[in-house]
Amino acid sequence: MARRQATANRRPSAELENYRRRLVATGAAKKTVQAYVYQLHSLAETAASPEGFMALFLHPEALGQALVDDRSSEGRQLSKWTLDQRRSAVQSFARLMSPELRRLTGREPLGIVTVALRRSALRVGGRFILTGGAPRRRGGPAPSPDDVAAIIREAARALTFKGRRNEAFFTILYESGSRVNALREASCADLVVLPMGTARLMLHAKGRCQPREIELTPHARRLLFAYIDEFNERAWLHGTLEQLIGGESTTLWRSTWIAQWSYPNVRQTFQKACLAAGTRAYRLHAFRRAFASEAAAILPRYTVALAGGWQGLERMDDHYIRPQVRSIAEKMAAASSQANREPPDKCRSLSFSWRP
């Protein structure tokens, strides 16, 4: 993340800056713009073309090799996911910068990308398969409800307003299945209380320009307002004018009176809570997996995907749902006890009624 930020902050070349402007003008999400520009930067570094990045389109073979080269500048192997994103970035670049590229190469730029990919791909039948890139790991384990409860309990033991903050934050994280940064970056203006008493949070949705609206459970709402009250009260006692006030664009989750709760700090709090609770050292994203796993054990997957903000079932199925042993055991026990309760006469009468 830090590396990506550093690359994004680097001064871009004129063509990349032009591309970025066009991408923004066509309505791409902020993070998509960041990711594509980062991938093009790193591709330019990998290819190290002396004539500039656009000159790669003059040599389809070099472009193809750069697209499937899975070694980073530090020598690590890149994942298939990274290569996919890089390919999408190049295709997007070819599409949006086509007038300039057409002038340079005299050919259709998207056609050049296709030729480049085919030259470095493996031909299987009538299709092409790209090799390279480490297969993506399918997430880590999902904590059980007991583990979640223990972690939240331990996180809530922190002093000052931080105890209430931790409890509210991790409870909402678990109950809504939201992403850590989406929740962490929420401002006071993103919290809406409707006249009927329901509270909603408008959170950033990955890959989308519009926020995702989550409804807080009464329990989560109570915790959140307890945190806000405690923060405001302590801030007042401490003599600072800083307050959490609805409708204002100030950050909701604080680590000090002014500063936003940073991601490393959230991670550290979570790790300490895992250690204190005596659970496995889960990662922060495990709460999203716990949400998906618990919900999918009972509800249809489509409903879970809608509730958790997944755009399709595939990603959720492959990377988030971890069937829980406890849930399987309970269901099997229930099924066997139900089978034992079946009247034996019914089965017998069915088997004897059959006449060949």
Binding site: T26, P195, E213
Partner: protein, 353 residues
Amino acid sequence: MQKPLFQLAALDRRSVNTKSPVDAQSEDLLRLYRRRRPSEGCSGATVEKEVSQLKSLFREAQRRNFTPSTIFRNPGILSDILLHPSTWISASAGRTRLIAAHRFVALCGADVEVPDAHAFMSSLDALLPSKGNGSWHDAGTIVAGAKSRRRPRNPTLSPAELKLLVEKAFPGSNYRDIRNRSLLALHCFTGLHPREIVTLKTRQLFRDHEPTPMLVEVWRSGRPLRLRIINDAMFHLKTHLANQPPVGPEGYVFPRGRCDPKPLTSRAVRDTVREACSRVGVPAMTAAELRSAFAYYLRASGLSDHEVASVLGVRKVRTVDRLLARHLEHDAQRRVHEILPTVTMDGAPNCKG
């Protein structure tokens, strides 16, 4: 306990019109275009839409210190304006802008010293990014414009909140309150668009046989359409009609006042809805958001998607899907909340599933 600190303040999202006027040459060209374009058989609304986008193009040219005729003589400048507008525009605005530029050159090309419109369009196409090397029907050029909305979304409203909005925003019994209540009821409990509500005339209202509620006839896509006014809205509309002085069949249902028969302006109606929202304590909702809440209300009442579409007067059921998408997400969230164990501080999780 509800916190007054977090009750929503009235969010005034009234946009400030900061558009600068166009110069005299642009005005002349637009007048010319407005005169010639209807001869091709397009509707007045289309002409106005194109003129508006041409005006935006001319403003962008002014900002870059170019005259209107210069941008049409030099496709490079026009492509730059189309690709990099100075403000955020929607995808449809971007497309309309390109189409308007094409049509302008075709109709008024000679007046801006562009004799060969086809050559101009070809050179413009070459300067714009192409969509891809697809087949003949999906080929095209890319111009600036975002598909998503720029205005932040408001929260979705439940049927109870919709009712609260109508009942509690204007509780008085004076003429204005009754009229405003009726206006709100039509926004919240019918499929009528704001423009249709504003221009609603008495002759458009029909009453079928008694158990069937009132119907309202509107024109959509060049066809008459009879929409049902359900009981929640009908009661308020009837009260308003009984309260106002008798008007003929051509009289407006929502005049400006008892003595002023002219219809309310769209802006006044929008402000009324905003005021109602701020009185009840919800963010300023748009008519589309209220319609979406109404669609969910119908769905929750047991209507099928096709029935919801017919009550709203939309042609495609996919529109209903789009209107209901965020409500369905909430439904899914509530279902998950029902089964997810609640984590409390005093012991093990409380499993509900």
